[in-house]
Symmetry: C2
Subunit: 271 residues, 2 copies
DNA sequence: CCGCTGAATTTGTGATCACATAAGCAAGCG
DNA sequence: CGCTTGCTTATGTGATCACAAATTCAGCGG
């Protein structure tokens, strides 16, 4: 499978949202009120994580999570009615969620309005990784600077936990798990920076690269990689922002290399 | 007037979209078909710039342009029905446009869903300018690298034209004109880089800083500023990417300084 | 067997409506 | 006179519907 040839078959239309259960767990949310318009903020009480928000927010988060997890491969097409049906809402909130993702470039719209997961080419991926290489070290440095000794220790513990998950995922050849753990590591570090505007920028980039990264790790997967996370952890323990920033830069650069490798490979054997 | 005290009075509700005429120029587009639903992609033929798209796209562009021009001050509130009425569309596309801008952090939503132009604090502005300082030099360098001698000359001419507009605006004390010309200068330079993903990131940041910048220039306005644009032009002429990148970095840093100054001032004299 | 033309279906778009909640405001009470 | 309480209005949310354009596919001709 190459980057350009994802198409997980059988779901190119209405792109089954359901593999990993995300809905309100019980059978049909629609049966709560087929025509009873104002079921606003309903069906919240249950254990659904992040279900307390509006319908379009729930749909947005669902789609976003699936995108970040690499659950939706590049090139897959979605339909508004499809996501609406899968998430148990009407077309309006589904459309808003899709458009929002499109605004963040996490989904792309064809000229005729069809929705699909973008397939960034090598140039686009280069831009995206350059953005990551520029922004993420700054965020990492801010995190180190923002924390006192105790905060750094706590963060270090959390980061180590992510890194352990990551190691387990690599050992098990679990590509989605790898992506998830890696994302969690970076997210935890950058969230500690307390810089929401910068974080939003970075997350927007992640959203664009995630589907491709899933393919990358699905191929590279088990290969041993230099562990820049460990370097970042050491720098964090010492409170050395520059070291952490460098490690993160190297980590991003490594990701860029992997992607470039795979892009080259898929270019030589297209389709 | 401080950053925190914009409130252009009389338009805090339904925030009159109309000062600078943006609509379909003739009186009422709604009379084209009050209930005749499918007037899709209608009323395009006229001279309306960028009117060939869908309704929500038109609304989005309108709002975006007004935001970028600093036409909407921080803290101003908008309503979906208001923008719908002003742009002659129904609530649905107006809502989508608003939500899209909110997704880009160009508008913010209160907990209860009310829409307002965000009022970034000093910390947020710091983040935003750091992002600019990191991304824009890279984009500028890419532009220089992407162009051959002829391309650089053509771009230089275009940039000089923007810079002349900018000079005229400063001389006339025309703050909106200044913002517009400055934006045009940077946009022209970065567009030449041929890096749409990076450009989108930067534009997202501009959208967030623009309302504040308008206030900044309204206050600083006529003050003589070091002209980093000239430095960038010289570097461009020589094909020296590093020089251009440095000039842009200095330009952004200058903007950050102005904002910080004003933020400090408004902090000492709040409300 | 392949390419083309027509209809049928799918799909996005936008308008309208009902409803729940939040904001605004007035009158009454302490 | 200030605060609270109640109602009225404004506003966002989401469902449904009608329509147009694109896609798909079957049938036909070469």
């Amino acid at each position: 499978m190459t980057i350009a040839d994802p198409r997980p078959a059988a779901l190119h239309a209405t792109a089954a949202i359901g593999p990993t259960d995300i809905g309100p767990s019980d059978a049909g949310p629609t049966d709560a009120g087929p025509t009873g318009a104002g079921t606003r903020r309903a069906q919240a009480g249950a254990g659904d994580p992040g279900a307390g928000a509006t319908a379009h927010e729930r749909v947005y988060r669902t789609l976003r999570a699936r995108l970040l997890a690499g659950d939706l491969a590049p090139g897959v097409s979605l339909t508004i009615r499809g996501v609406a049906a899968e998430t148990g809402v009407s077309m309006t909130p589904a459309r808003e969620a899709v458009r929002r993702l499109a605004a963040e470039r996490a989904l792309s719209l064809t000229a005729s309005g069809r929705i699909l997961v973008p397939t960034p080419d090598a140039a686009a991926l280069g831009e995206l990784f350059e953005a990551r290489a520029l922004l993420e070290p700054a965020l990492a440095a801010r995190a180190v600077a923002a924390l006192d000794r105790g905060g750094r220790a706590a963060l270090g513990a959390r980061l180590r936990a992510c890194d352990d998950d990551l190691g387990r995922a690599v050992a098990a050849g679990d590509a989605p798990g790898y992506v998830r753990a890696n994302t969690a590591f970076h997210a935890a570090l950058y969230t500690a920076a307390g810089a929401p505007a910068l974080l939003a920028l970075v997350e927007s980039v992640w959203l664009q690269t995630a589907p491709t990264m899933r393919c990358v790790y699905a191929v590279i997967g088990t290969r041993a990689l230099e562990d820049h996370h460990a370097g970042a952890l050491r720098g964090l323990a010492k409170g050395d922002a520059a070291t952490v920033a460098c490690a993160i830069r190297a980590d991003v650069a490594q990701g860029a290399t992997l992607v470039a490798e795979l892009a080259e490979k898929s270019a030589s054997a297209p389709g």
